[in-house]
């Protein structure tokens, strides 16, 4: 029997009307249905923020983690049972700010998790402060005189740290986003999906209209396995131009594939070790 969208449907979302989260939530569910998963077969790890509140709206094994800490927690789940698909649902403040260090190291470890970032370039749940992806000069409650820092480019950041799958989607194009998320979950290794998303309540600059004028789908002939071309493509967001699609993908052994102790079985399935004779020789 195939799973249905409604199998994954939990509580009614509390997002603001018109929020980009609706489109993303819908794309995640559709991707899971189209990949023929059921709620008992996947794990979703959530950060804290408006996006993290999806924990109550999506039926699945889940862990609503701390702000910034969803990635290492997802890595731990994967280490214990690498057969479980693990997706990480986070926001830009969560993943690029508070948890930025974890993002870098997850990429270079090629940990087989899918990081889906709701990037609305503002802190929504805490009512509108600047985020790491806000543009320089952005005026917010925490930067009333305008932001002094340049914005982070999450795409080039993870590309240079060894990420094996980097994509960008748009909350306003659910069907295209669904395809990207499906590809990200199916990818073996670390995947980042940076999703451009308006915040209708607290970001009056980066609106739907703003993005409609600046997004474009990657050409069908775009080659995804050339890192240098990917870096150039990814750099376009520095000029507020947003290519959508898979920007880079490469096959490389995942962290758990490289762990010799997990060659045959998952960590949870392994037999208990009991031959302590092998260990105590060095103490005699």
């Amino acid at each position: 029997m195939n799973s249905l969208n409604q199998d994954f449907t939990g509580y009614s979302p509390t997002w603001c009307p018109g929020c980009g989260n609706w489109g993303i939530g819908s794309a995640i569910k559709q991707a899971l249905v189209q990949l023929d998963f059921s709620p008992d077969q996947i794990v979703a790890v959530f950060g804290i923020g408006c996006s993290g509140n999806m924990n109550d709206f999506l039926n699945a094994y889940g862990f609503h983690a701390l702000h910034g800490r969803a990635i290492p927690l997802a890595i731990g789940i994967k280490l214990a049972n690498h057969k479980l698909p693990v997706i990480v649902i986070v926001g830009d403040g969560d993943c690029y700010g508070e948890g930025g260090n974890h993002l870098i190291h997850a990429a270079r470890g090629n940990h087989d998790i899918t990081v889906i970032v709701h990037n609305n370039r503002v802190y929504g749940l805490t009512t509108g402060q600047t985020s790491p992806t806000s543009a320089k000069g952005f005026k917010s409650k925490s930067t009333p005189l305008g932001l002094l820092e340049a914005s982070i480019n999450p795409l080039t950041l993870v590309l240079t740290q060894g990420a094996t799958f980097v994509a960008q989607g748009y909350a306003g194009d659910v069907n295209h986003l669904t395809q990207i998320i499906k590809a990200a979950i199916s990818h073996r290794g670390f995947s980042l999906v940076n999703i451009i998303q308006p915040c209708v309540s607290f970001n009056k600059i980066n609106t739907y209209q703003y993005y409609q004028e600046r997004i474009y789908n990657l050409d069908e002939n775009y080659i995804t396995d050339d890192l240098n071309k990917a870096l150039i493509k990814a750099s376009e967001i520095n000029q507020e131009k947003f290519p959508l699609g898979i920007i880079y993908q490469k096959q490389s052994p995942t962290f758990t594939e490289d762990l010799i102790q997990l060659k045959e079985k998952t960590l949870i399935e392994k037999e208990r070790f009991s031959n302590t004779d092998l260990l105590i020789k060095e103490f005699i």
């Binding site: 701390l66 290492p72 890595i75 731990g76 789940i77 260090n101 762990l259 949870i268 302590t276 103490f283």
Partner: protein
Amino acid sequence: MVDFTIKIGGEAGFGIMTTGLFFSKIASRLGYQILDYVEYPSLVRGGHNAYEIRVSDTEVIALKKEIDLLVCLNKETLEKHKDRLTPESLVIYDRDEFDFQDNFQKIAVPFKKILTDFNGPAVMKNTIALGASLAIFGGKIEILLDLIKAQFEKKGDQIVKFNQQFAIAGYDEVKKNYPSFIKNFLTERQERKEQLVITGNDAFSLGAVVADCRLYAAYPMTPSSSVLHTLALWQDKTGMVVRHAEDEISVINTAIGASFAGVRSAVGTSGGGFALMVESLSLVGITETSLVVFIAQRPGPATGMPTWTEQGDLLFAAFSGHGEFPKIVLAPGDQKEMIELTLKAFNLADIYQTPVIILSDMYLSEGHRSVERDWFEEIAAKYKINRGKISINSKLKSQNSKRQLKTKNFLRYKITEDGISEKILPGTLGYFYQANSYEHLEDGHTTEDLAERVKQVNKRNRKIGAYLSQDFQLPNFYGDKNAEVIFVSWGSTKGVVLEAQEQLRKKGIKTGFYHFNHLYPLNQKRVGPLFRVKRRYILVENNSWGQLGKILAMEVGVRIKEKILRYDGRPVAVEEIVNKI
């Protein structure tokens, strides 16, 4: 009766640690028991290193004041440690480097000349000294030659022989020039049992393996790092996954994720690293995840004195984490207790689905003691894994069972009498649930409902009561119940207090001693009565606040006025306690 102390000192970076451990192992192989202690500064080269070993034919539980043989690889060693020498003490030194007028027994060994003769690097001084020391105590050279062979075998026969010649030279020097100083201390004991020479960190590592811990995460931090090294080295044999993550926050969250997915998990660190983990410890509390946290304390605050010892983080551990949630704090007194409590900690973490903190310190974590191999093997064989209400036999996706028609929301946080709820592993067919950092309903969904909040708080709090009635242990009592003087301490101060008690007994003074292993929470009803009788209670702690005293005052209402507190980075000494009485 054999009971002597040897101390080897020299410049950091010249192999003092290896030499000291060799001596401990030699004594242990010959059937003697040892306790050793290292002193080193927080740098890789330069500065003063020292390695002290007390050897006896009975159990060694503490260091003693007098040094019987001081091996000086440089002049500084003599200057730093001569206050602990007596006129009978022997001093090995090189007359070509320095000389002294003090009234100690001089054993001049020409390190420099031997190095020149055999064209050896300065680090070989250690090997010469080891040979000379072995000769002084009447040990046979063969056992040292064997150890050297084992150490360098991989590098080929020539390297083995090259190293061995320095040991032989030192050995022969003493045999030839100082025959009258040779003592028959290290003769092979006939009725000897095979012994392990292990540190507290080794003991934790062994305990974690026997307890079936499958994931250990850590970020290097003295004095906990050797657990990371040891468990990482064993990975290919044990199958454990050891992750050296990017920071301590990642460390603890990795372990939380792994534990959520069903494997026994632990993290290790010292106070500063634990400080970074504390927000996530609170996450462990509310999500009711099982986790063992190993903390090897060192003097703080902040970077403090990284390579020295202190028991300064008891209050920090007991009250770590924002919000109210149950946790269990244990502290072993020695290597054997470390193995026992580590085994217990993994069961407690699973039974109560809560963090269990094991407190060690540099003195226990990095010092070696002898533990009989039979004892270890018996305790390992006897150990029973108890995973409480965690259902590990649940059908996982990988078993390719047929997909359920409809998945149900499992009641992960179901209200129960003892506060502990059943847990199934993610991937179990037919169900789903979330572990939630927010306050939640029985099914894991977020709630801000006041009644549901109170239900969950009470549920979590009931686990404290369940622990206190089922698994909390009163302090161990040593000595005389009717004694006027009763010592009170915890963790690694156990040995020195016991030794002080023995010395006081010989002077005709009877004492008693409560040693706490189960430190927090305390069972007020059972601990309170222990202090009801009017006695002279004396707190002994390796910190400046008397932290166990504060916990006793807070939790039990007992106030201990007399205190022996040491906080200069060194372990409490036996004579400090004896002199106080």
